[in-house]
Amino acid sequence: MALKALSRLLPIRTPGASSYFRWIHTSSAVGVKEVKVTEEGDMTIIEGSIQDSKRKPFLLKMDDPYHACPMCALEGRGIKVRHTDVLILQQFLNIKHEMLPREITGLCKRQHRRVLSLVLMAQNAGLLPVNKMKVKWEKWNRYYDEETDIRDYKLKDLHHLKHMLPGES
């Protein structure tokens, strides 16, 4: 009887991932928990708290008045994302190593096209895994030179982010 009733209880939900606006977290998306047990005489108090990640001091502050997309906000601070920066590109991907839709990632249309090309470059270089079957000649990796890349464009062309550029009068 108890097992039949259990089907109502599942799935277990924790307060976490789905409620955030953007998919960049201060703590992990699963919610690392610490259950604290304190005993004071006859009283025992049991409490749970969600822990912050170790990488919290390295997180960029994203309080922009213009609500720029996360990749545009990086470029506004002079940070250039390359195809070798796998840990950044990994966050925009699915479990099947496909690109997530723009509504979830919060990217603008221009950056979505750019990230998609950077992911393909990283997959051809063997830095990111691929779900597809490879053709015989594709087992050898291809490597790209950043300076010769066509997709790389200058920061001065970003007119809508001029207020965020560092050291520009």
């Binding site: 108890a2 259990l6 277990i12 924790t14 259950v35 006859d42 009283m43 025992t44 108090i45 708290s49």
Partner: protein, 155 residues
């Protein structure tokens, strides 16, 4: 591998040693969260418990875990363990943390602040607290009175 070979009466070996591995892996499905909760529910015992008070706000994002705890303790199989135990539920509108207050007959108390706890975390910690109390409770309780019935002697 010291294994005895058993021989049939016709001189044939019944259990020969096979060099190839016949099977490797797990029998059946791996355990899920469903099975872990079911293990904990079987252990739940309300004998040393005097009262259970629950307080939650239905608009709190994690009010589900406390409501599930009420649902489990209302199973008739668990309620039958202690019919004297009282249950009380307060629904509030403070956006306060959902919590469970448990009073034992041993004058001990236990409080769960379930703002970010699962139902599995609550049940696991509940059984940990109750186990030493329940062992002491069983020892102190008097054994059932044995009545010796004298048989009538037949003439």
């Amino acid at each position: 591998m010291a294994r005895k070979l058993t021989i049939n009466k016709f001189g044939k070996v019944i259990n020969p040693i096979r060099h190839a591995i016949a099977f490797e892996g797990r029998w059946g499905r791996p355990p899920t969260t469903k099975t872990f909760i079911a293990e904990q529910i079987r252990k739940v015992d309300l004998r040393p418990v005097k009262a259970v008070n629950v307080r939650f706000d239905p608009f709190h994002p994690n009010a589900q875990a406390v409501r599930e705890f009420m649902f489990i303790t209302s199973f008739p199989k668990i309620r039958k363990t202690n019919l004297k135990c009282t249950f009380k539920c307060d629904v509030v509108n403070d956006r306060s943390e959902p919590s469970i207050f448990i009073d034992f007959e041993n004058k001990q108390k236990c409080i769960f602040k379930a703002g970010s706890l699962n139902i599995l975390d609550i049940l696991q910690n509940y059984n940990k607290v109750v186990e030493p109390i329940l062992q002491k409770y069983q020892e102190d309780q008097p054994k059932p009175f044995e009545v010796k019935v004298e048989r009538k002697r037949r003439r």
